[in-house]
Amino acid sequence: MEDKLILNGHEFTSRFILGSGKYSLDLIKAAVENAGAQIITLALRRAAGGDVANILDYIPEGVTLLPNTSGARNADEAVRIARLARETGCGDFIKIEAIRDSKYLLPDNYETLKATEILAKEGFVVMPYMYPDLNFARDLQNAGAACIMPLGSPIGSNKGLCTKDFIQIIIDEVDLPVIVDAGIGRPSQACEAMEIGAAAVMANTAIATAGDVPAMASAFKKAIEAGRESYLAGFGNVVEKGARASSPLTGFLHN
């Protein structure tokens, strides 16, 4: 059976979601192609309106747009931006960002949940960016989210999986795709996220600011594929919990 990422019934073979912010626009197309990405995020605040260089003109056809609600500071604003995205013709996918901290850009889980409840009822494919908390992930699932998007570390920090253990708990306990978003700075970190069972990885800054953007997009693609493959293959005991002791502690049972 083909290994697919499924979001509210929509199927994707790529597990690499590419961000489109922070780019030189003429590099976006090459990045999408080299990344093999089928989903690209789009800040409505950069896309709406007749920009001199509108970001939409640079996104290849056939790629699913994932507009985000960046700029929203609460649920109400996120809902308004989501509706505007739909009206603008960006489709039904929406990545919720509700952020009221301009320093670290950490998501506000409470506001994110409120927006998820409203938008899921309106038929959106809701992909909430969140701070990894198991209870909250369950609440998002109950509210109709299509996936869970926990942050690896603060946006743009390139620090990788600072929240690894907490993301692992969500992966283990919640029956929704878990897409690691934010903070992934290197292909090795993307690979690590996939190895622990993430359904996909989203990255932006690491690729947008690379010396060779298309080459870095390609490197991420390979890392994500390698991570996925190794997860599916299943790790041996050696990696999981160390080697089996040659003098077993339970040997006394047989003496």
Binding site: G21, K22, Y23, S24, L25, A43, L44, R45, R46, A48, G49, D51, V52, A53, G71, A72, R73, E77, R80, I81, L84, I99, R100, D101, S102, K103, Y104, L105, G156, S157, N158, N204, T205, A208, T209
Partner: protein
């Protein structure tokens, strides 16, 4: 000129000025007064540069003379932070001066009420014409400015200008006289979302000798403008000291602390810095930025960036093409273009004189290309009004 004994108490609010229950002014001033920049060593600077998140003490070290030999290291770190937070994006905008009447007597400013210049105020039709002309250049962000005269440019007039601006632009900022929070709320409703107020200098004794008459004389009212703007619902606020007026290191430190404390109190507030140096004005071509040369300016800008990596930093046409083109590679994230600091110059004959002399007359296309030539992406708007 009013003599010292005739001048009003600059720390006392005038009638109608809103007073906030806040201690931020005392905190900033006491931090600034305690800032002895000569006591910092190379080691302090090196330590600051390896910290992930800088403390105010680290920021103080980066602004000190001890940091001067580390300017290259600071620029390298600043560039990393800028690209991390802003990627390759450089925002473009232009200021539009809609009136130059002013009730203040600030001795360094071309608009001051005793300076003999041509005064003018655009009508709503003229504002619309100017904005139309500007929007045709492709810009989507505008900063509306007036001289500081409530009488000639009242809140309603500025609000109407914001409403017109909203028709032609996605991002509307204002740089006008400080006002009360309900007035900021009104302008927010009219479409403005960003407020910039320069404190000029945080040394209140010096401030008093530079701002001799008018409401601008009231130091604390000006200081709390950003906080009132946030209370009024504005998304972002801009800070600046006019470098060269007083001790630039202390002023830059106070500017950073002001922004730092405001962001701490209002975490959602978007923070911006401007880094103006003194410029010559009509009837006084001797005005200059004194000891703030380009290396000092660069040090200040890099220190702002490393201390508050998420803040927007604007570079205006007070600086020349060479400096502007290089600073966007390092730390600045917003640049003006097609600038006219007089009244009415975008559509025809200017009817009011300029605030200061600009150093970079390039138009929007030229600046756009210059940004691209640096391998960066000009961005007309990254904002949505909600």
């Amino acid at each position: 000129m009013a003599k010292t004994e005739e001048r009003t108490n600059h720390m006392e609010y005038m009638q109608g000025m809103e007073i906030l229950d806040s201690t931020m002014l005392d905190e900033v001033i006491s931090a600034m007064n305690g800032y002895d920049y000569d006591r910092y060593t190379e080691k302090d600077v090196q330590n600051a540069l390896v910290h992930d998140t800088l403390t105010p003490e680290d920021f103080a070290a980066l602004l000190s003379p001890a940091a001067a030999p580390f300017l290259e290291e600071m620029a390298q770190r600043a560039q990393i932070e800028t690209r991390k937070h802003f990627g390759n994006s450089i925002a473009m905008f232009t200021p539009l001066y809609i009136a130059n009447y002013c009730e203040n007597y600030c001795i360094y400013c071309g608009f001051n009420c005793y300076n003999k210049i041509r005064r003018a105020k655009l009508t709503e039709e003229e504002i619309e014409c100017e904005m139309k002309a500007i929007s045709e250049t492709g810009l989507q962000e505008i900063l509306l400015l007036t001289g500081e005269s409530r009488k000639m440019s009242d809140v309603e007039y500025i609000g109407n200008a914001c409403k017109i601006a909203k028709k032609y632009f996605k991002v509307v900022g204002i740089e006008v006289y400080p006002m009360n929070s309900d007035e900021y709320a009104h302008l927010h409703k009219c479409g403005a979302d960003f407020v910039t107020v320069f404190q000029e200098t945080y040394n209140s004794d010096k401030y008093e000798t530079l701002h001799l008459e008018g409401h601008k004389r009231v130091f604390p009212y000006r200081f709390y403008a950003q906080e009132r703007a946030i209370i009024g619902g504005m998304r972002g606020v801009g800070f600046a000291a006019l470098l060269g007026l007083d001790d630039f290191r202390k002023d830059a430190f106070a500017t950073g602390m002001h922004a730092y404390l405001l962001q701490k109190k209002y975490p959602h507030a978007e923070i911006a810095f401007s880094c103006p140096r003194l410029r010559p004005i009509i009837n006084n071509d001797k005005i200059n930025p004194k000891d703030v040369h380009e290396p000092q300016l660069l040090q200040v800008i890099c220190a702002y960036r490393i201390f508050m990596p998420f803040a927007s930093i604007t570079i205006s046409t007070r600086e020349c093409e060479r400096f502007r083109d290089n600073i966007i590679k390092i730390a600045a994230t917003k640049i003006s273009a097609g600038v006219d600091v007089g009244i009415g110059g975008h559509t025809g004959e200017q009817k009011g004189d300029e605030q200061f002399e600009i150093s970079d007359p390039r138009n929007v296309d030229e600046v756009f290309k210059a940004i691209e030539e640096q391998g960066l992406q000009p961005v007309m708007s990254d904002y949505i009004y909600v």
